[in-house]
């Protein structure tokens, strides 16, 4: 029942992939599509590094005793897992790969507004990444990705300053990407592409960029303060001089809570596109979905102290932040309901991208609903800093963000590579990822309510936690296989996959109106938009079937 169509390619057209060859044509490119591929390669690399750490963590926890690695090593493992996955995979993942590739295509622009800044942002990412790798290979960091003072500033003797600088540099890469998107979306839209005709993917990326622009600088300066306190012995957070360690947490979470929306919002954008295409419908409540993205971006900045309910903040402040946390849950709920309603009376296809979208819906719903537990003050006290939190954010960030990322990679792979991926394998991989994920992380909710604290490498005092940990480790193995599969068949399809037509899914959106893969300047002639987004009615109307669609 695959919708994807292959067409015999007459002669090779010139496109962004074959226009020039050679290493320098890639390393000095300002073409947003090539930069997207540079990002794709780099984040995949970091994803597997972070994944390797995760696997070691899970293996250590297979038995209650700390027998696989030393305590220090374990602490570095979860720290590096967090830092690599968050700053070098999740935050750049969808924006820097799919966003970079698709934002100009979707709005009918020839490129992003500042192509050279776009390249610069990739280089900054690589510099940050190399620093992080160097830091990991020469000793690593053991503070957890949260860098809490005064442990990070005065007590640990690991490489805080270097890791901090790596994140600082990567942060600027993220800021520049956001800046480019905001300016591009404001200034570079094709004639007729009004705000209410924008694909919701663009709205999601616009909201993401707002967070990147306004949040990242705060964490950057916080890292500067930590590094200064450590390296130059300034006193900012040090309680010995009268400093307040909670101030660090305020500044840190001001960015790091909205940062989870940097990770999930683009994924929501991807899922919106996929659901519209594979149910052949306009998104139900377009404006509500669009504005809920902006609402999430804004409300996301109002809730950071819900990470600090037991940290010693004022109880009245806790009350306010708990209340506001429910305010940010609402736009997410609205999105879920609108996606569900979009399915109603659709004509639903079960291709791999849609399977990932279904997976996203399920896992994000569970992740979001468990967020309600965590924002309830009374329960938060018991479950914060336990595996309940670990499970909750992995449901959002892996179940949500990574499912969306993989769905998007499958959906746009024909456009990116000009080739079709093997549909059967892709569906199998989607299934394996879904099962492996739930097996890994669902037991952790139970572990958390049982009281197992996070960041413990040795739980020999509480052997009753072992069964659930074994389940989780088994799931992680399945999940690992699920993540390896797509990499293998995507690589395979680049050479052996069937050539894709310009619009293999018969999808709406400007990106499908140009060649697969697109030419260097995206469109042979400047597009003029006269239709609303998701015009599946016209696309599926009997008279418009000039291109035979094999169903």
């Amino acid at each position: 029942m695959s919708m994807a169509t292959a067409i015999p390619q007459p002669a090779e057209r010139e496109n962004y992939l074959n226009k020039e060859y050679g290493v320098w044509s890639w390393l000095l490119t300002t073409d947003h599509k090539r930069i997207a591929l540079l990002y794709l390669i780099s984040i995949t690399f970091f994803f597997f590094i972070g994944g390797f750490f995760a696997l070691l963590i899970r293996l250590e926890l297979l038995t209650p005793a700390g027998d696989l690695v030393q305590a220090d090593t374990y602490n570095k493992l979860f720290t590096m897992h967090g830092m690599v996955m968050i700053f070098f995979f999740l935050i750049p993942s969808i924006p820097a790969v799919l966003g970079n590739f698709l934002v100009p295509l979707m709005i009918g622009a020839k490129d992003l507004a500042f192509p050279r800044i776009n390249l610069l942002s990739w280089y900054l990412y690589i510099i940050g990444g190399v620093m992080m790798l160097h830091c990991m290979l020469t000793g690593g960091v053991d503070t957890g990705w949260t860098f809490y003072a005064p442990f990070s500033t005065s007590f640990t003797n690991t490489k805080i300053v270097e890791a901090g600088l790596a994140i600082f540099v990567a942060g600027f890469s993220s800021i520049l990407t956001g800046l480019n998107f905001v300016v591009t979306i404001h200034r570079m839209r094709a004639p007729g592409m009004t705000w209410s005709r924008l694909p919701l993917f663009i709205w999601a990326h616009y909201a993401t960029s707002i967070i990147q622009l306004l949040g990242t600088p705060v964490v950057a300066v916080t890292i500067v303060l930590v590094a200064a306190e450590r390296a130059l012995h300034l006193g900012i957070f040090d309680p010995k001089l009268g400093g307040d360690p909670l101030l660090f947490q305020h500044l840190f979470w001001f960015y790091s809570h909205p940062a989870v929306y940097i990770m999930i919002l683009p994924s929501m954008g991807v899922v919106t596109e996929i659901i519209a295409c594979f149910s052949r419908k306009r998104i139900f409540g377009y404006h509500f979905v669009a504005f809920s993205s902006i609402a999430i971006a804004v409300f996301g900045f109002l809730v950071w102290a819900h990470h600090m309910f037991v940290a010693g903040i004022s109880v009245y402040s806790a009350l306010v932040f708990s209340f506001l946390s429910y305010a940010v849950a609402l736009p997410s709920a609205i999105k879920v309901f609108n996606w569900t309603a979009t399915l109603y009376k659709g004509s639903i296809h079960y291709d791999a991208p849609m399977l990932y979208a279904f997976g996203f819906l399920g896992l994000f719903t569970i992740g979001g609903l468990t967020g309600l537990f965590l924002s309830a003050l009374g329960i938060n006290v018991h479950v914060t800093d336990t595996y309940f939190v670990v499970a909750h954010f992995h449901y959002i960030m892996v179940g949500g963000a990574v499912m969306g990322y993989l769905g998007g990679m499958h959906f746009w792979w024909p456009k990116i590579s000009g080739r079709l991926y093997p549909e059967g394998w892709a569906r199998l991989a989607a299934l394996i990822v879904f099962i492996g994920f739930n097996l890994t992380f669902f037991p952790q909710f139970v572990l958390g309510y049982m009281g197992m604290p996070r960041r413990y490498y040795d739980y020999s005092h509480m052997p009753e936690f072992q069964v659930l940990n074994v389940l989780s480790t088994a799931g992680a193995t399945v999940l690992g296989v699920g993540y390896l599969l797509p990499m293998v068949y995507f690589l395979w399809s680049m050479r052996y996959g069937k050539p894709a037509s310009d619009n293999p899914w018969n999808a709406a959106g400007l990106e499908w109106k140009t060649a697969s893969p697109p030419p260097t300047f995206n469109f042979d002639e400047e597009p003029v938009v006269t239709w609303e987004a998701y015009n599946y009615e016209e696309l599926d109307a009997p008279h418009s079937e000039e291109v035979p669609v094999a169903r």
Binding site: A113, V183, V224, L225, E229, L234, G235, L241, G242, L251
Partner: protein, 236 residues
């Protein structure tokens, strides 16, 4: 911002070498560059915002100690530096106007004057730092702030540990500001060379304009730093 200034190559727009290939028309390119700089300044607001947040929390907690520490900084130098920066903002705005109205001498002169004023600012700052170093007010092992009276509270001495926090914030805030000044000087040196070569015309002067925006922003940061750091409690 360098993007808007590059001499690109293109097919249709031979007569307008500044127009990059992916823009449809010069106006679009100009608007993009300007919006880009404004958005960047927005991120800068948040960058300094984190510092201001830390400063405000501790100033509320340790007001007397902060006032005593603040009194030890040279207010005269701070006020002079404020005036220097305000003058440089004037020369910047003159440079922008000169570029728009094709007054080449005024443009080059204003840019040069701006750089001179910027250097003067950094020079005065260096003198201040030197004084602080000699007075052992630089946080660290040699820090000393004993028996300094809290303004308005005779016989009461500032807590040296809290004073050290003030100086930590003082050095981080003014240091990051000075770093921005140095970046600004780099930008203006480049603008100066471009102006010398006669690249700016009334039709194309976006770099001067957005470089000026950056300079003004750095000025605004100082306008807040001056009273916050130098003028906490100066009355006799």
């Amino acid at each position: 911002m360098p993007d808007s200034t590059v001499i690109g190559l293109h097919h249709e727009e031979e007569h307008r070498p500044e127009l990059l290939h992916h823009f449809a028309e010069p106006q679009q390119q100009r608007d993009a560059a300007s919006l880009g700089m404004w958005v960047f300044l927005g991120t800068e607001v948040m960058f300094f915002g984190g510092l201001f947040c830390a400063y405000l929390v501790y100033r509320r907690w340790y007001f007397g100690d902060f006032a005593a520490a603040s009194k030890s900084i040279n207010m005269g130098l701070g006020a002079t530096n404020t005036a220097v920066l305000i003058c440089s903002s004037l020369t910047v705005v003159l440079a922008v106007w000169a570029a728009q109205t094709a007054r080449r001498t005024l443009l080059i002169g204003s840019l040069a004057l701006t750089m001179l004023l910027g250097l003067a600012f950094l020079g005065i700052k260096a003198v201040e730092y030197k004084d602080k170093f000699e007075e052992h007010h630089v946080p660290g092992a040699s820090f000393s702030f004993d028996h300094v009276e809290i303004p308005g509270h005779p016989g009461e001495y500032a807590n040296p540990r809290h004073a050290q926090m003030f100086f930590s914030l003082y050095f981080v805030m003014t240091g990051l500001h000075a770093l921005h000044m140095i970046v600004g000087l780099g930008i203006f040196l480049w603008l100066f060379i471009m102006a010398w070569k006669g690249r700016f015309t009334p039709e194309w002067n976006t770099p001067v304009e957005i470089g000026g925006l950056y300079w003004h922003f750095v000025d605004i940061v100082w306008i807040y730093l001056f009273p916050l750091l130098y003028l906490i409690d100066r009355h006799p």
